[in-house]
Amino acid sequence: MSLTLRATRAGRVDRTKPLTFTFDGKTYRGFEGDTLASALLANGVHLMGRSFKYHRPRGVVTAGSDEPNALVSIGTGARHTPNLRAPQVELYDGLVAQSQNRWPSLSFDVGAINNVLSPLFVAGFYYKTFMWPNVAWKKLYEPIIRRAAGLGTASNEADPDHYSTRFPHCDVLVIGSGPAGLSAALAAARTGARVILCDEQSEFGGSLLSELHATIDGKPAAQWVADSVAELKVHASRVTILPRTQAFGYFAQNFIGLVERVTDHLAKPDPKLPRDRLWQVRAKQVVIATGAHERPMVFPDNDRPGIMLADAARTYANRYGVRPGGRAVVATAHDSAYQAALDLKAAGVSIELIADLRKEANGPLPMAARAAGIRVETGMAITGSTGHLRVSAALVSKLGTDGEEAIPCDLILMCGGWTPSVHLFSQSRGKLKFDETRQVFIPGESVQAERSAGACKGSESLMQAFDDGFAAGLDAAAKAGFSKGTKVTVKLAGVIDAHGGYLGAVPHPHDAGRVKAFVDFQNDVTAKDIKLATREGMRSIEHVKRYTTTGMATDQGKLSNMNALAIAAEALGKSIPAVGLTTFRQPYTPISFGAMANHSRGELFDPVRKTPTHAWAEAQGAVFEDVGLWKRAWYFPKAGEDMHQAVLRECKTVRDSAGVFDASTLGKIEVVGPDAAEFMNLLYTNPWSKLEVGRCRYGLMLNEAGFVMDDGVVGRIAQDRFHVTTTTGGAPRVLNHMEDYLQTEFPHLKVALTSTTEQYAVVAVQGPNARKIIAPLIEGIDISNEAMPHMSVRLGKICGVPTRLFRMSFTGELGFEVNVPADYGQAVWEAIWAEAQKYEACAYGTETMHVLRAEKGYIIVGQETDGTVTPNDLGLDWAIGKAKPDFVGKRSLIRPDLVKADRKQLVGLLTVDPQKVLEEGAQITLVGNPPAGTSALGHVTSSYQSAVLGRSFALAIVAAGRARMGETLYVPMPDGPIAVTVTDPVFYDKEGAKLHV
């Protein structure tokens, strides 16, 4: 179709910049400044979608983000984005758009059979129709419903775009840039305040962009908008103006989420730019100026393509220069539709009739319409429409009569009045109040530092919007501390105020059970459905909403809520406030997951912490595992080795010669102060007062309930200084636990805690040759067995850098842990490695560490323990300072349940078949094939193949385990039970001779 529907001059599109785009594969032309909806209308295309449930042909109804019908998919491949609102999609050259929810084509859709079958799909049909048989729900009904439901489909490919976020602060945030918002921003900006102005549209100005007649301070409205925006831009250092930016959520403490669509409107965006930018704004004061939504009229067949809101049609004509039809019938209950009729008439649309539901319409606008020669009928209802893919006639009736007149037309404009957009106010937890005179919900009491201005607070005239806006901007700035503002106003001419409004279904002479008068276009909910819900016992609007799904589509009932409420209220014989209003939820319009995730994807999803020797391990071909946020070397496979072979070799090498291990990730806490020992006495089960400087002790930490929460070796560096180590994953938790007790329970103790985890790189050298390996590198420390026994710590130097050298072992062999300042970690490691190679020692990873410690029966917190295990359960009673008056968890240890004889206790397990390696986590039972429902005696906590034992072995916790030594128990597995013998948990060097060499 040619561009004859486009006016030659009117509107804000740039006729020097023609654009080409496709819709369902067909090529069309539009101009820069068009939306997809305006460009399609300019090409005579009204049919833009199929409805959700009945697949009825639908056209665009609105000119904004509240659009329920014209939902389209944009883009191809990975950039295919479904369910975008055509009036919000800005046109660019090469745009590819597709309609949704139809097959095989938009004009012929097989799914439209649902419209014929609609008696089956009444409100609550899920609950009624798909009841039987039970099993069919999961297998049959749900999959079919899921496939049938939903509109567009998301791309299966990874999102190629990137997204960003920002946390700005401002004195005044103004949401919406219509007359009220723009005035508020101007007033606030002039006080010197920091202002953010955002608007969901591509241009600022809101309704002023469709305003042809008004002059503001003697200027045309559009010029006043341009001048105002220019004034705001002068203050760019403190005034941020954000077009294409949706305020989607109002959260606690004036935290407001905005999403800026940065590149969606560009044909060839700069790849450096994010697609969306999430602005997480903290505003001292907020001005909400979000306007009002025009309400559709609920009449039979009110959803045919060519039926749209009156003011939307006015916007298409005035802002985009598009004639949305040739012959129009206007159905209204509000004066504003008369302005639309007059403007469309001026644009060349023939206005066949204005049918006003009200008994009288004698305001200045209706009078002007009559004076312009338009046929105006009052007390007349629109009662139906004809047509299929485009409306062909409007049916109208005089109220109280049965006669129906058909008026041929290709456009029906409807206006049931205006609903203030109170979404964000309501999200801010502000209380709404019902204005009985105007029959609208408006903002009542504020909870947060915000105020509404203009149509969103129920103001009905343009002058009032300006006055509201200036006052709100001044008030917000003053409350944010900028009181230098002066009262401002504008001189307005050429506008006529409009009043009126109607809620609920329009009366009609048809059988109400047989017609479809849509209330919620997006979810295909009719007036009939709402009445049915009330008949079936739904009393509150919250119930009606869930039963019928009215207002539950992505448009959140912007157009439908008030009509649905009025229909329900009438059916229930209650007042509107008595039926209640549904909750407004974030997001105001759908926003992308990309915007919410923003930078948190791929490598940057979470911090990846690497140790100072990571690069060395990587170069050696180490395989890494994740432990908390850390990457730890898991094992070091040589060519041709799998994990099993590598670990067996590493284990054997450590026991035969030595191994070098990166222990840097272990948590380290420096406990310093005159009361340090007393603090340690209270936080750990062990006694610390008598630990000599230079000696170490294994420390066990319990929670208040008496269960093991962490462990680690602690060295006494000085009388008032302990070097505490924790598990890798437990480090932050243990420091928090310590701080918590220090600050709340033991504030009298003079002690301070400092995390030193990252201060030191830790190189563990373990094995019979450990001393020989480090000896040549150490200065100032006698590391002989006599001078530096097992469990001691010395300060000195290694390779010329300061070290805290621990003699300790988590392998059962002679061992040292070399702590050096982290930046020297890799260099010291390399020096040790050079020495280690002389003894054919190996580098080993966490898996070998796990096996070696298990051979010694050393526990790992979180593996042998699960938050319900006591020291006694683990055979660690020796670590409890019996003489100590108190420590965290002490009192709980004597609770009856914690001293029961049949508690699960740590034992070793040996399989009868020495090559069989048990599965960790497997259950343990008394007999091989226990009857279903039998409780397990316990479970396998650690299980490995051992090089030194030449067989498999496991650790487990088993009920009354220590009394079962030698007993045969069973580990039932899917392929049959495995017989195991209960043993002592120490498998290697029971007497500990190898530690003391």
Binding site: K272, L273, H599, L604, P612, V672, A752, T754, C799, Y824
Partner: protein, 187 residues
């Protein structure tokens, strides 16, 4: 022995510089001596003598003199920053100044590392992950605080109208750097 050549490796090794011409630069700071000092006001006042810079009593304040800085992070907590290589001398000086007063001085020279964010868009770049109001009226020169950048703990200190000093634990450097790199594309 000590004739071994031991190289110090910065946590920033291998990272690309972040520089947007005329807008913002992110650059590692030189190695430094750092201590976490914990003690009461009396101990802090004594420590000031040993350290050579007054440990500020007011919260969120940084005091600098002759290349040394003391940042108050809490009612009994200060971060002390001095030129590299002064761990032992400062430990001795502070211990002497304090006598037998209770205190906790812990060397964190290698735990922490730092970079500066400078330029016209320094505030904007930091606002990509920092939730605080960084406007000069809310966060003036000489202000410092412990806060977060995205998921990493940082200490943020404004050293000049267009320059921030950011302290963080060394293993969080690649994460924070990666985010800043991404955000710098669009400040």
């Amino acid at each position: 022995m000590s004739d071994l050549k031991i190289t110090r490796r910065s946590a920033f090794e291998g990272l690309h510089p972040i520089q947007v011409e005329g807008s913002v630069t992110v650059a590692p700071t030189p190695y430094a001596t750092r201590f976490s000092f914990r003690g009461d006001a009396k101990a802090a006042s004594a420590c000031s003598k040993g350290f050579g810079v007054l440990l500020p009593n007011d919260l969120l304040k940084a005091e600098s003199d002759q290349g040394r800085t003391a940042i108050s992070l809490g009612p009994d907590e200060w971060l002390l920053i001095a030129p590299d290589g002064e761990v032992e001398s400062l430990e001795a000086a502070i211990a002497k100044a304090l006598g037998d007063q209770h205190q906790s001085l812990v060397d964190i020279s290698h735990r922490n590392t730092a970079f500066t964010v400078s330029g016209l868009k320094a505030e904007t770049l930091l606002a990509s992950g920092c939730l605080l109001d960084l406007h000069i009226s809310a966060f003036p020169v000489g202000m410092a605080t412990r806060t977060i950048y995205s998921k990493a703990d940082i200490i943020l200190w404004r050293t000049a109208p267009d320059t921030f000093h950011v302290e963080l634990w060394r293993s969080f450097v690649p994460f924070v750097w990666g985010l800043l790199e991404e955000a710098a594309h669009e400040v």
